[in-house]
Amino acid sequence: MTTPASPTLADRAAEAFAAYREGDRERMSELVDLLTPVLWHTARGQRLDQTSAEDVIQTAWIRLVESADAIAEPQAVLAWLITTVRREAWRVLKKDGRAIPTDEFPEGEVGGIPASLDPAAEAMLREDQRSLWRSVSRLSERCQALLRIIAFVDRPDYGAVSEALGMPVGSIGPTRGRCLAKLRSLLTADPSWSTR
């Protein structure tokens, strides 16, 4: 039943980070390529504009280099970076007098998705993507932000990442939790979402 597991994002990151810490400095570049996409979606999910998102992500990487030896387990580097980007994003939002995404329901631009996509962007989406967008835009901002992060990590890493994000993890592994359950119930109710 079980096939040999291919290394997940967290595994590959842990391997590169461990090698970097043991002196193979070139491996940092690989780590940046691996993890920056999920960090981009972490920062943008917190409603940061593009420039602030870039700044926050750069800060997190500099922090990682500065505190590389303080991270106990290389396996934790993915969750550490996501957590650092979220904290930095909150710091920026607070400084600008803006609110951290909460369970309030969306109004205007949330989670980096405009409440209405521009027509050109929308035309590029397939029907199932439009259906997904309709459902996602009905989630709370917090849920949008969390699912946006989870969408960019591999399934075996959901547990560790969810935990770092303060989402409950069931005793037998990652449960859907409220956000994913809400998305699923919205999608199931949408006839244009195909479960193919």
């Binding site: 400095r25 940092m28 570049s29 940046v32 390529d33 920056t36 996409p37 981009w40 979606h41 943008r44 593009q50 870039e54 992500i57 750069q58 990487w61 500099i62 280099v65 500065e66 980096g112 998705i113 996509l117 962007a121 590029m124 989406l125 199932d128 993507q129 997904l132 967008w133 996602v136 699912l147 946006r148 989870i150 969408a151 960019f152 399934r155 959901y158 069931g170 037998i172 592994g173 990652p174 449960t175 859907r176 939790g177 409220r178 994913l180 359950a181 809400k182 998305l183 699923r184 119930s185 999608l187 479960t195």
Partner: protein, 170 residues
């Protein structure tokens, strides 16, 4: 859906349908809000600076072979020169097409460093080519791949950190 049904759904284990919804979400965000293309390079540059304790030189002037302004992202045309300055060095580089038998897609770089002899490295993509200046501060690097390039200067005379330039398009 009743509250009990919703609670049961939330407490259920993630299955294939959830995984597919998340994969769809990933594709959706990639399309609607992609990571900027130069972001990872900018991060690597920042990390390199932090690791080298390097000084960043300023791009000072662009000597145009033709007339008129030109976007910075455009590759330098043959015979175009750029000058970088830092507190310790100035570096002028001129891009040429090199000999006729040079590999295609490569350029020859003629450079001149003032401020003392130094090792010169050019980094383009994953490639790094190095040389040293002569007594007059001149150097030549042949067969440099085209692309976004940075120069790293390491002075012979002192233990000071290197000087690194902003990227230029070759």
């Amino acid at each position: 859906m009743s509250l009990d049904d919703f609670t049961a759904l939330a407490d259920g284990a993630i299955d294939e349908i959830d995984v597919r919804a998340l994969a769809g979400l990933r594709e959706f965000y990639r399309r609607t809000d992609p990571m900027p293309s130069g972001l990872t390079d900018r991060i690597k540059f920042e990390l390199t600076l932090a690791a080298l304790h390097a000084e960043v030189a300023q791009l000072q002037e662009l000597t145009l072979s033709g007339s008129g302004a030109r976007a910075d992202a455009q590759p330098l045309a043959p015979t175009e020169s750029v000058t970088f300055t830092s507190s310790r060095f100035s570096l002028m580089v001129t891009v040429g097409s090199g000999p006729q038998d040079a590999p295609s897609g490569t350029v020859r770089i003629d450079g001149w460093v003032t401020g003392g002899p130094a090792d010169v490295e050019v980094r383009v993509g994953g490639t790094s080519l190095s040389t040293s200046t002569d007594a007059g501060g001149r150097f030549v690097i042949e067969a440099v791949p085209r692309g976004s390039a940075r120069f790293v200067l390491r002075p012979h005379a002192t233990d000071d950190g290197p000087v690194i330039t902003p990227a230029i398009e070759l």
